[in-house]
């Protein structure tokens, strides 16, 4: 029997090509595609560790076309955003980028993202998940603004790693070495406006390049031509996940559950639980979730996201955390874990019930060796500083490689 599926069109489920797709296709040797926000998106191109080492030692590009890009402009744009996010947008200068969080009325994290201040009354908000509905709700009462969703016609490409500045210089972006972290710079790219921000998700020296979609491939080619001698390679989602974990960055689906998509009561997180209390500014004008967060700050978060250095070398993926070696009472769970090649230790992020932070912490690690299952109990040490935070990530100008 031939099954026809005329009643619903599965073709619409097919991921859209990225604006860099012709080049990505050539490079994705393993055809390891998944999808992000409806865009075709590489899990990896050749091999995860290889891509990871490229970024840590040379430089790599990561396709961020699927990120949501909202241009918010008008007299009320600043007030609207400031009421939406937990940090003080009024303190942002033009040409600056800020990492921001936004919460529900109850102070639960909806998403994180970045705000680019492009002018007094012009901002770009980027984030991982479509947020039109929430933005629309956030705009009630702020009439003098427009929101343009440019997710589909503005291309973004992250260039990360120690040689990234050198590549951009070679590409002809004069003065890029003077770009400080979290700043925005505009270049003329053969008559087309090219925006570059010194931002990224790897904790290393890195930039993000933004250009109108129709010029995306042209920009890619210029970048790869310049990067040839600097080891430029593409890297996919899996390498990104390693890189961001070393940098201590949170990821939806690992550390947090987007509050608007969470079904079970309080199975989402607050900024304090995610150890991002420093991003909640109670001195700024009112913002969404403030009253709930004031209360949470007073009471202390139920859980705290904690950086762990775990003995041994077996990644603690999915482990429970206990307050004693006997593993009788579980007091938390690991959200992300890996053996970190750069810091040479067994690192993890874990949600731990706050009252237990001062006691002993033990992870029960399950692992596999040639199809046999094993488990061990390993002592965990809390680490306060980021696992990986190289000097070059902050240096301006960064040293040439």
């Amino acid at each position: 029997m031939i099954v026809t599926m005329n009643s619903f069109d599965l073709a619409t489920e097919k991921p859209k090509p990225s604006h860099f797709q012709p080049r990505l296709d050539e490079l994705n040797i393993k055809e390891a595609w998944s999808a992000w926000n409806g865009y075709k998106f590489a899990e990896y191109y050749y091999e995860v560790e290889y891509e990871y080492f490229c970024v840590r030692n040379l430089c790599g590009t990561y396709d961020i076309c699927p990120m949501q890009k909202y241009f918010i402009s008008g007299a009320d744009a600043e007030r609207m955003l400031n009421r939406m996010v937990t940090r003080d947008v009024t303190k942002m200068k033009n040409g600056r980028v800020s990492y921001v969080l936004w919460c529900t009325d109850e102070g639960r994290l909806i998403d994180d993202g970045t705000i680019f201040r492009l002018g007094d009354e012009e901002f770009m908000l980027t984030c991982g998940s479509p947020s039109t509905a929430w933005l629309k709700k956030s705009c009630v009462g702020f009439d003098n603004l427009t929101i343009r969703d440019r997710s589909d016609d503005y291309a973004g490409l992250a260039l990360q790693g120690p040689t990234s500045c050198a590549v951009l210089k070679k590409m002809g972006l004069t003065g890029i070495e003077n770009a400080k972290p979290f700043t925005i710079h505009h270049f003329d790219f053969g008559g087309k406006p090219l925006m570059v921000s010194r931002t990224g998700f790897t904790g290393d020296l890195g930039y993000e390049l933004w250009i109108d979609a129709e010029h995306a491939v042209e920009m890619w080619d210029a970048l790869y031509a310049a990067g040839q001698d600097y080891g430029i390679h593409p890297f996919g989602e899996q390498a990104t996940n390693m890189l961001r974990l070393e940098a201590g960055f949170i990821m939806p689906g690992y550390e947090f559950n987007e509050a608007l998509k969470t079904v079970h009561f309080e199975f989402d997180q607050t900024p304090f639980e995610l150890n991002l209390g420093w991003m909640v500014d109670f001195k700024k004008p009112h913002f969404n979730g403030r009253s709930a967060l004031v209360e949470e700050a007073r009471r202390g978060p139920k859980y705290t996201l904690t950086k762990l250095d775990i003995e041994g070398n077996k990644p603690a993926d999915g482990s429970f955390i206990y307050n004693s070696k006997r593993c009788t009472t579980d007091i938390g769970y690991v959200t992300s874990a890996m053996w970190s090649p750069v810091v040479k230790s067994n690192i993890a992020l874990a949600m731990i019930e706050t009252p237990y932070l001062n006691g002993e912490l033990w992870a029960e690690i399950n692992y596999e060796k040639e199809l046999r299952q094993f488990h061990k109990v390993a002592r965990c040490k809390i680490q306060d500083a980021p696992f990986w935070s190289p000097e070059r990530a902050r240096l301006t100008p960064p040293s040439d490689f």
């Binding site: 400031n82 709700k137 009253s291 004031v294």
Partner: protein, 507 residues
């Protein structure tokens, strides 16, 4: 040091009641009214040289407790009786007088007894409920749980059969309920009217027109048809208790501070620029006006703001005021000294609603007519009269817009309808004033021009009125309370929102 303990925004009757209770308890209270005079939708004003009227014409369920507490009789308040009579163009009529049905068939009269017994029982059950703050859902204190328990117990004590019946009819369309009891078209119109007037509901609409009717059947209440007297008594009583009243003092914004950890209301700024501080601000302006215009979304949470924004508050009632050369003569009626219902059957009511639902004027409007100059002689010159007409249903957002031709068309169709009942009426008209929902909005500062400051519907009632987070009169902002018709139990001239809010403001 604050200039006042409390500022009450809006001197509608609820603002008057609320500020009065606060002043009685020794608070220094300033009552600020945007309009020229007190009363809000119940204020009396001249609409044609020598002729006065008010938008609200009668109070049918004013609690005795408020009248006594505020000693309104000492200030000239008097209660009255007010019958409701449905007319046919031919001069037939049926009426409700002091709770009894007159002029109907023997079957309908007998059935009415059962109908009335049942609804009366249900209405009594709700009685203590209207004078209470309804606790929010979730994490309740013991006393809040007891408030729920009391209602539950009352329902339980009705007995099994009545209880089942209660849950069956509570959200029934009026049409179906009446169909079970009576058969005369005019009787059905008559009995459905109080369930419908002021709401966005027709006889066949599900939801809770029955509950609306029960609300209006509150026991232990008084009827007042001299609204000018009522508002004067409320005003004088408030002043006697020390409330400072300022009219023509529109509030532009409610001031919020964030000095402590929580947000707190600290006073108001008038449109004139004058800033006045107070420990508490209590607003009788409708919830949308209060939160979205006077406070501003930047001080509110996003979901909360959206719930306020979504409040359905588009009025369905227009008001036509007529200055008449003499007493109008209705077919078959000795005197128009009651509420006259000009709606021959429920189908006509339903059709008028259908037109309005789609943004059109009713082809055949249904009217409720009173002649207030009969009970308050100073509303019109000697020998002349004021006729006040509630016109149902007229959409706030008329598709073609409330332009001159739409207004003329509406007025003409109202007068035409009147003529079929009172043939000489057109020649008696000396002047008129038409207030569409859009006019009511701008003239009386009520969002949507809505009778209840927000539809009387299950999702906007009780612990959901106006929305959770502000349904116990207190709001997410410390020291900011609501006291108008947009709060529990709702609109009409009852004073209950003001009464309940004062208790919360003092707690």
């Amino acid at each position: 040091m604050n200039q006042y303990d409390s500022i009450v925004v809006g001197a509608g009757h609820n603002g008057l009641v609320c500020s009065n209770y606060l002043a009685k308890r020794g608070k220094r209270v300033l009552l600020l009214e945007a309009g020229e005079r007190c009363g809000g939708l119940a204020s009396t004003y001249e609409f044609h040289p020598g002729f006065k009227t008010s938008v609200a014409q009668y109070a049918t369920h004013l609690p005795k407790r408020i009248i006594n507490d505020l000693k309104l009789r000492d200030f000239g308040y008097a209660s009255h009786k007010l019958d409701l009579e449905a007319l046919s163009p031919e001069g037939d009529s049926v009426s409700l007088r002091s709770g009894s049905l007159f002029g109907a068939s023997a079957d309908d009269m007998a059935a009415y007894q059962d109908y009335d017994r049942l609804l009366d029982k249900f209405a009594q059950m709700f009685q203590p409920f209207w004078q209470k703050t309804v606790p929010p859902i979730g994490n309740n204190s013991l006393s809040e749980m007891l408030a729920f328990a009391e209602l539950g117990l009352k329902i339980r004590l009705m007995g099994r059969e009545d209880m089942q019946e209660f849950f069956r009819v509570i959200a029934l369309p009026m049409y179906d309920l009446l169909d079970e009891y009576v058969s005369s078209p005019l009787v059905k119109s008559l009995l459905s009217w109080d369930a419908l007037i002021g709401t966005k509901q027709a006889p066949r609409s599900p939801n809770n027109s029955v509950l609306h009717l029960l609300y209006r059947m509150q026991g232990d209440s008084e009827i007042c048809v001299n609204i000018q007297n009522l508002v004067e008594a409320l005003t004088q009583s408030a002043e006697a208790n020390g409330v400072e009243i300022r009219t023509a003092a529109p509030v532009e914004s409610i001031q919020i501070s964030q000095e402590s950890e929580a947000l707190a209301a600290t006073g108001v700024v008038l449109e004139s620029g004058e800033a006045i501080s107070a420990g508490q601000v209590i607003s009788s302006a409708d919830p949308k006006t209060t939160f979205l215009s006077l406070v501003g979304s930047e001080w509110l949470e996003i979901e909360f703001t959206n719930r306020i924004q979504r409040i359905r508050d588009r009025g369905m009632v227009s008001k036509l005021h007529l200055a008449l050369d003499g007493l109008p003569a209705f077919n078959g009626l000795d005197s128009p000294d009651r509420r006259l219902l000009l709606a021959p059957d429920v189908e006509t009511i339903e059709c008028a609603f259908d037109n309005a639902k789609y943004g059109e004027l009713p082809e055949q409007p249904v009217l409720e007519v009173t002649t207030p100059s009969l009970s308050s002689s100073d509303l019109a010159p000697e020998g002349k009269h004021v006729m006040s007409i509630n016109v149902m249903y007229t959409p706030y957002a008329l598709k073609e817009g409330w332009n001159v031709s739409a207004r003329e068309a509406l007025q003409e169709s109202v007068v035409k309808t009147l003529e079929t009942y009172a043939p000489a009426i057109r020649s008696q008209i000396l002047g008129s004033e038409l207030l569409t929902p859009a006019d009511l909005e701008s003239r009386f500062h009520v969002s949507g021009g809505h009778w209840h400051h927000g539809d009387f519907a299950l999702d906007q009632l009780i612990m959901m009125r106006p929305t959770h987070g502000a349904a116990q009169y207190k709001t997410p902002i410390d020291g900011l309370l609501l006291c108008g018709a947009g709060t529990h139990p709702g609109g009409d001239l009852t004073g209950l929102p003001g009464f309940n809010a004062a208790r919360e403001a003092l707690s």
